[in-house]
Symmetry: D2
Subunit: 147 residues, 4 copies
């Protein structure tokens, strides 16, 4: 139940494996079973009307749970998303950054599950809820990850 | 943001509208946006092997969110489940009662969303996670509730 | 891509492992990747108002996908539900039997996914949609099934 | 049960309301309750490793169901996504276009539900399954759309 990577190591590793997008995501806080992640909102995350898009919120939830799994399992670990469910609750507030509060509910041998509440930065009303399941391949084989 | 029914009024109303099953469910705690509900586990809630069944956990999650909506909207309100998602995380512990911790994430004009963590009584490891969406018909017309 | 159990073998096996409830469920049709299952609706499947309850529909979807996995993997196989999502679309028609049309979307080494449309017998309007994920333990160990 | 917009009118309208991304999505077929949509895969839809990303598949599912609702309800209609569930079943085949086969399961007064199977172009094995719920505001008021 301890972290394999601390907050700085996790941020460095995400920057290395996601060079295109790592600047979009900032690890703000990390504990043994929670992570807070910021989506630094830019034009490409907005839909017509100027609010954060559904795909951008999906990405934020997905990256948050993935980062939490990495922080616990370590750099060598492979994991692929096998299920997501999301509820879109409120209109995001303009182009404010989006904050994800993620809890790791389960970290098993082959499955990890996390849930996420997302907020417009500065608001305490959740904009969206997500849960994500990751499949973790047995021998670190990417081909096996889809179960 | 205040309760239309307190804990006792809510329990009385559930007993009245669900005479067959109300003894299965006990409201243990109620705030403006959370409810704790106990499933008093009996033989009919178990599957082969003696652990609480999936349908019993579905019922518990569904009743918890419904009760939370009633507590806020009042007795006259109608609401039907339109969506559920559940993650089954761990094997329940034998035939222990099941405790649901439910948060109301949204209570809108026509939709309510709650999420629920379920635990075997006495354990702090979640057995299942659920989210439930309820549709609330505009004029209290049951026929309209399915949206 | 062939069946390990034919329709009769599957029905016999379900009767053996689910002695309490097997009469509720009838396998009506089985192919290599689809199954049609009937829920023989009785008083205990109804909610106040006399329509089929959410937990009864959850059971039907769950049993359908489980039976499909058994038909392909054979009797010795173990599988536990790890995720479900359901949309409740219309009010079921009174106490008519419920028919589930299930497709197996994936049968992997460790995960199986099926989706299900449910209809009131005699109607072609779907009452509910479900998808179910099953985790299949590696060495047939029940303890390992939760991933 | 007839279409408010035919295939060409729908494509024109999507181009008008989504000027940034409409070239990503091509309406390939449209009936009264199904739509086939192509995601023309480009570099920005890929994740490290060169396969189509989860957010790109989310977008495809979301646009498909939204387009189906528009085709039935007409240009003036407003709709916001309130729920999504997705199962990721297989690794997409390289950078092939992604084809979504969408069925409209319900088109109610205030809620619409569609489900979607997604395939790498040229393959008949589903890569992902999605279901999407849209809330349709009563008087065409965008502010009311979140229910």
């Amino acid at each position: 139940m301890s972290l394999a990577l601390n907050k700085e190591e996790l941020a460095d590793y995400l920057a290395q494996v996601f060079p295109q997008v790592h600047k979009d995501f900032v690890v703000e806080d990390l504990t043994e079973d929670t992570i807070r992640m910021r989506l630094v909102v830019a034009e490409r995350h907005l839909r017509p009307g100027g609010t954060v898009s559904g795909p951008a919120m999906f990405s934020l939830a997905d990256v948050s749970v993935y980062a939490m799994v990495l922080a616990r399992k370590g750099r060598q670990s492979l994991a692929v998303t096998t299920n997501s469910s999301m509820d879109f609750l409120r209109k995001p507030e303009g182009a404010a950054d989006m904050i994800a509060e993620c809890r790791l509910l389960k970290l098993g041998r082959s499955l990890a599950v996390g849930d996420v509440l997302m907020f417009s930065d500065g608001s305490d009303k959740p904009v969206a809820r997500a849960s994500m399941t990751y499949s973790i391949p047995p021998q670190g084989s990417a081909a096996a990850a889809f179960g």
